[in-house]
Amino acid sequence: MDDKNLTPKERLKIPPQEMPEQDPAERINNVDEVPYGYTEELARMEADRCLQCKNKPCIKGCPVEIDIPEFIKAIAEGNFRESVRIIKETNILPAICGRVCPQEEQCQRYCIVGKSHKSVEKAVQIGKLERFVADWEMKNGEAERPEIRKSTGKKVAVVGSGPAGLTVAAEVRREGHDVTVFEALHKPGGVLIYGIPEFRLPKAIVMEEVENLKKMGVEVRYNSVIGKIFSIDELFEKGYDAVFVGTGAGLPNFLNLPGENLNGVYSANEYLTRANLMQAYSFPETDTPTANSRNVAVFGGGNVAMDSARTALRLGAENVYLVYRRSRKEMPARVEEVEHADAEGVQFLLLQNPVNLIGDEDGWIKQVECIKMELGEPDDSGRRRPIPIEGSEFRIDIDTCIIAIGNSSNPLIPDTTPDIETNRWGNIVTDDETMKTSKKGVFAGGDIVLGAATVILAMGQGRKAAVAINEYLETGQW
């Protein structure tokens, strides 16, 4: 097809290209990635759907302002290397973002093609295209690494190796500063490695991105819990000139229900960490055990809940119930995840809420009592507030229960660094533009500032912080 000759009308006629994916019945028996990704033909076909709008409305929806029409044009022309280069000007982790960003609420929401069809689902599949070129680059030899400026002799400590920390590390290293990333766990990536499952984000991708950083000269130190092994002040004493705190929202929320400490009751963080980081799905090949579940209830409606439910299926559960207090429409999870969970057989118990966890005499969970809900007036979040229907309680037999109702900020750094100001939720307070904290030389970004948010927002804040860090190191002015 000769792209240049397509009229907008013809472009609008091309249907959105689906990514081929593993069959649901098959995939619940393995942890391999679900969608296979576009082929070159599919990608170029999808790229042809883009109208190359002059005012580029989609960019407005992208937290790091990728030049979307330009990278799509390069794909349409078959110039994949150029396409990745354009993306990487503002996003260093496209293989990851292409897979996990909520595009339907970001770029694709603003896409004119979607608007013409009056359906955001028919927008140009920007995320799938991003994934395609990023994967293409990984498959086709060395990723292009940015040029590193001459060494400045300045040292920066990055605390936490989640998307925020990794972004800062790359952008600060580029300017010729020495960068050490301190990570509490034994592997890098934060939620990308311990939370988001293999079937959604293969860990080899995360590891490869970190390898690229190391090749740029970034040092990564694992098993280093800052606040314990060194305080932030001690990092300065050790000669670091600036510190970035990207420690994430690693504090699981519980419901404060009776029976929450029964055996078989997990936070989503624990359940997913066992499965992903510790590879409990290969037990006893690997040493970390997890529950041998048959009937699982997951509480929540976000990505974390979907990931937990789908992981439970893959670990062999027969029935996985997803209990959510609003309706499907209000679920904060990415649409694709909800669809995947549905197709795989997760049973949605909508407009229901757990009120009591009931155990047996050995201290194991055996039932959950739920109450039915109805939707009332919209609340602060704009979503309709769920109200319990009196007398509608009922019980479900379960042996495992996963609480996926969100995370709060990890308190380790704020607790050990009292001169870093936090708000009443424990999030670090920063300047919106520079990500400076109340402590001189210390910047912060990602979930520790935003509360549990998204990968791309964490990266966006990392970028802002990196710009400010580079400037601070050059001028010395706070």
């Binding site: 819990v225 314990k228 055996n263 963080n269 040493d287």
Partner: protein, 274 residues
């Protein structure tokens, strides 16, 4: 990677290791622990730091072989390395001048009790240590505990060494003898800590226990280590490991540490058959 520089078996299933970890050695305080991973496929397990030398740059760990991980760890030799070691974790023991402190160590719990006795002594307290074991060979670190205490009392369940009976019997005797006790610190099997706390509650003696729950990350991220303390859920790895013994729900905790018993047995059997 942390190199093992010394290893000795205290009994056939209890061993002590010195491991190179200069930064942890410098930073750690009494009551803190580390999390280690033995090898590539290993799980994360917590072990209390039993001793450390900041100049020589090592920490000492004492472990009992209770499952596959501790078994594999026990098979490592001097010169081998432990894949991952993170710490020091948890809050240090609160040390102040209480007056007379009774430090109780049960079995392998004597190892973590040792630095606490040391620190209490350095903090200006009179330290009476009660060491308990099922039988003579399970009463470990007697010499070290003697050096860290003013008095050491030994009990064995079978009477093969010291007084016959439980650590609670020895504690009861101290109380009956009119010894005024300002604080009791108990480290050992949950059932021991439960009964020590029960006894001291009766006499209203402040009691600290050090809890050894199952953990994963050890940084407060997963909640696997949670316990009920005074009706509130606490995370042992970041809020503890030491808590007010009178408030801990030991029954709940004892159930929780049994959670993976079948899987642990499966892993061990599989390992032994290989």
């Amino acid at each position: 990677m942390n190199k093992i520089i010394e290893k000795e078996f205290i009994t056939s299933d209890l061993f002590r290791m010195k491991v190179e970890a200069p930064e942890i050695a410098r930073k750690r305080k009494a009551g803190q622990f580390i999390i280690l991973i033995v090898d590539e496929k290993g799980e994360r397990i917590p072990l209390t730091i039993a001793d450390a030398d900041s100049d020589a740059g090592w920490i000492a760990l004492v472990a009992q072989i209770v499952g596959k991980t501790t078994k594999v760890l026990s098979l490592l030799e001097v010169g081998d390395s432990i894949r991952d070691l993170a710490g020091p974790l948890g809050k240090p023991t609160h040390i102040e001048k209480y007056g007379r402190v009774v430090v109780i160590g049960g079995g392998v719990g004597i190892a973590p009790a040792h630095p606490i006795a040391q620190a209490m002594k350095e903090g200006g307290n009179t330290v009476i240590s009660i060491l308990g074991g099922r039988t003579k060979e399970l009463v470990i670190m007697e010499e070290e505990m003697k050096a860290a205490s003013d008095t050491v009392i030994i009990t064995t369940d079978d009477g093969s060494y010291g007084n016959k009976g439980f650590v609670t019997d020895a504690l009861q005797k101290l109380i009956d003898d009119g010894v005024f006790i300002n604080l009791v610190v108990a480290v050992g099997p949950p059932i021991m800590m439960k009964f020590v706390s029960k006894l001291t509650k009766k006499y209203e003696i402040e009691t600290i226990v050090s809890l050894n729950t199952i953990m994963v990350d050890g940084t407060g991220m997963c909640g696997c280590c949670r316990v009920s303390v005074g009706g509130e859920t606490k995370f042992v790895c970041v809020d503890g490991p030491e808590f007010d013994g009178h408030k801990v729900d030991f029954d709940e905790m004892m159930k929780r540490i049994q959670m993976y018993k079948p899987q642990e047995k499966e892993a061990m059997d599989r390992f032994l058959s290989e």
